[in-house]
Symmetry: D2
Subunit: 284 residues, 4 copies
């Protein structure tokens, strides 16, 4: 029984590509963190140190920057698709390319009631993401967001749970529900998607559903959010969530002669609940 | 020549106090990170292990949470002043208290065009700060913000600098100027300040001045920002900045047959320039 | 075509369990970060908010701490196996449990040439990891380490690579090779493994192989390291690596009248190469 | 009352200088993070955008790398002193230079019982630091360490403290004492100090004193550590500590039918106590 190379891939991670569009005095900015990865037959590089089929990660980086100019960045998805095609074309031994992009949002600085032409303030909050996987089987586009921190100060309970001898948690009829949401959704259509508009709509729908759904557990909330997205967007096949339950514990102020009807909480760091769920379309 | 105790202080750092105001169905949220520190005559604790004059840091933490209820949080400054007074009162050996507060901003989640009553999304972006120092000499209130990330895609140069034999930097006629701003301003008036309104106004003024000032160096930009704040706010004595120059290097695309007139940049991490400056009122 | 729940799991992440063994005056310490995760039929919780089959994450946390006493921690693997068994037993709806453990190493503080009985200094360096997955199919134990930062100041080249029109990288005959290694290996035997001894041996072998193998690329180095582990440890089925190529760029000092034959480097942060590879036993 | 420039300084932060000494086949490595800062009369740069007296931060960076070759790095202190002198010499408007250096330690990888000639593993644990401030008044050298994480599993109590109406903490007769120590000591002699040997001796003394001193509070422990250093090292004027009290809370296992005599703890993140103290030589 011999020892052989199994799955492998390589690329350049975290190229911080900033693209300014300055065709008019009103500039636009796209602020990206781009990671590339190639897979395929790179056995000779591993077993014999033979780099002749290896496109250097430095070249992958160069291509990421060059394509920000040559192809442009109208959306992370469109840019990543172009970059994936180019890297596969340049690397005969590669059978697949995975391009990951994070995008950081900027707002125009308000001056006299209007947004400035070329001065921006980073918005903060969630990061937009995409992962484009291109191979002979076509492209998979999985877009999403991460670090969308949301909180409900009421409208959330956790009761009726399974109890064993290690259970000490009291039931909560009214608690804070908070999470730092990571969501990723897979597009069925990989071509003519309105990437930016769909992103904005999904983000808005996730937020509104979180706000308006009474929560009997974070699981139920995530499922409702996923269901709402799939119902509204026929071009999305499935959506996945990773949601830390960011515990806010009610502080006991009784010893100090103070009541605390849901007013003062301590936000805890660790440990935290971690809920992961995918909502999919049923196969026929 | 003996060995003795020099300056010392102690307290509880990073109490994550979340205060929900729920007197009406339209909740409010204040999300704070509170650190306390007491100084004074604590020699016996250091030299003899005698804790009789030491108010435990656990008690300081309890007080921070209790005061979020008992006193309330209309602003970080007002809350910190109350907490400082209480801790000094409770600790006879203490001659001074320093309370530091960071505040994280939340927006209401938009639902059907309006902000939701009890569902929030964390805004991201800059963190509001205050440091209240209370002693027999009165209170010093130094408020500010940190992590306000701003960028100008034009309107910035860096030329005419001192050159020595280790200088290789070419002059830049048009470059990206970006920083993650930390600003702190000291109030002369410690009483009836409109803390929240002043914060909003200073923040807006810093942003607008950054946007509209042509920059011949980050130093000049900071000075202009500080000057604008002191001119508009008579109740502010001085303002200090710490501003990393977040370098965005133009990528050379010539080898790829592409020109790059200020369009594609790499955002660098380290090293970075670090500019620190204070703008003050001249003493007579 | 309906919308349904897909894969899902939940648990408590990052329980910081510290276990002191103090049966004798010479204490031992195990310092763990424990994350639990249960999967199975939790559809009712997601679709109907019905928690009756859901063992709370708070209970999972309690169990993690209780088992540090009841079962003890002779190794992360043995402890995680016991915890997985307990959580499956307590949760009828669960079909699988995944327990992840990170362990932080401590050394005895040296006093007068010997290690102190009950005073420790955290070692720093790499973190030991394990992921135990238990289901009706049995247990999978995947152990490893992360953040093992290694560097060779010579004995590394990168030449003969594929060149396209975006390639500007010169060949390097002698460069620094550095990485922050993450390695995970899967045990075939899940029972009577000498977990601690095997960990120590694999770690030593990874280090020695890195040191003594001439490197024509990080890929070749990783493959050699994996091969060495599989050859020496029949009870290990496969080993995987994720290795950022932490670039150290030679600084051009020529403009300053200084040569630089591999002496002064700048350690870069981003972007970085990222090499991932698995070495496996060939199936017959 | 006019508005003017107050204190200001500028420089390049976090130059990651790696110096390999390869005069013989047995290489040495010094791995530094270098930050420079100049202060003086830079009013014209702030008020008028005039850079003619401003040595660019890019030049300061170049000098940091060039001096790693030209002057060499026998210790962070010696290197920083040389760099400070050079930057002052190159910048007529500067009246002072502050050079901060962090050093990361590496061990030789053990191969066959001996350390390898050119393969290293990063040690982890504490970071060695220095801050050299040079002006017409001479040099101040403040060296130290940070992130030295230590823990005692017994030999620590906290009792007899001040109690007020917000105090709920019970007295602890036997607790874990843990901290992540930052220490900085100021040398009186700025010339012929054996920087590396002194560092090693102070570090060893801090550790041994922590281990062997019964602790009635972290304050007492820090004072004892400082006193020990000043007693042993006549060339050190004063030593300062910042020590987070990394709380390890005993977990209540009684509900599960288990006792817990100091065996199972939860390591908490926030909030934490923060103790700061300086030990000095008494002035006559």
């Amino acid at each position: 029984m011999g020892i052989v190379l199994g799955p492998n891939r390589y690329g350049k991670a975290e190229c911080r590509v900033v693209r300014i569009v300055r065709d008019t005095p009103r500039h636009e900015i796209r602020d990206l963190n781009v990671s590339t990865s190639l897979r395929g037959d790179f056995t000779a590089a591993h077993e014999a140190g033979d780099q002749s089929q290896v496109l250097p990660t430095d070249t992958q980086k160069n291509t990421a920057f060059a394509y920000a100019k040559k192809h442009g960045v109208t959306s992370p998805e469109d840019y990543a698709l172009a970059l994936a095609r180019r890297l596969l074309e340049a690397t005969p031994a590669a059978t697949g390319a995975l391009i990951r992009v994070e995008e950081y949002a900027w707002d125009r600085i308000p001056v006299g009631g209007a947004g400035h032409d070329h001065a921006f303030v980073r918005r903060g909050g969630e990061v937009r993401t995409t992962a484009v996987d291109l191979s002979s089987e076509g492209a998979h586009v999985v877009s999403g967001l991460t670090d969308l921190v949301v909180l409900k100060s009421t409208g959330s309970e956790f009761t009726g749970f399974l109890v064993d001898e290690y259970t000490t948690l009291p039931e909560a009829e009214d608690r804070i529900l908070a999470t730092s949401l990571t969501a990723t959704w897979r597009y069925s259509d990989r071509g003519a998607v309105a990437w930016n508009r769909t992103y904005d709509e999904v983000r808005a729908l996730l937020l509104a559903t979180f706000a308006t759904t009474y929560s009997r557990a974070l699981q139920e909330t995530l499922y409702a959010m996923g269901r709402a997205v799939l119902e509204a967007h026929g071009g999305i096949e499935e959506i996945s969530f990773a949601a830390p339950n960011k515990h806010h514990f009610l502080v006991d102020l009784e010893a100090f002669g103070l009541d605390n009807p849901g007013e003062v909480f301590i936000a805890a760091d660790r440990p935290y609940g971690l809920i992961e769920a995918t909502v999919v379309r049923e196969e026929d």
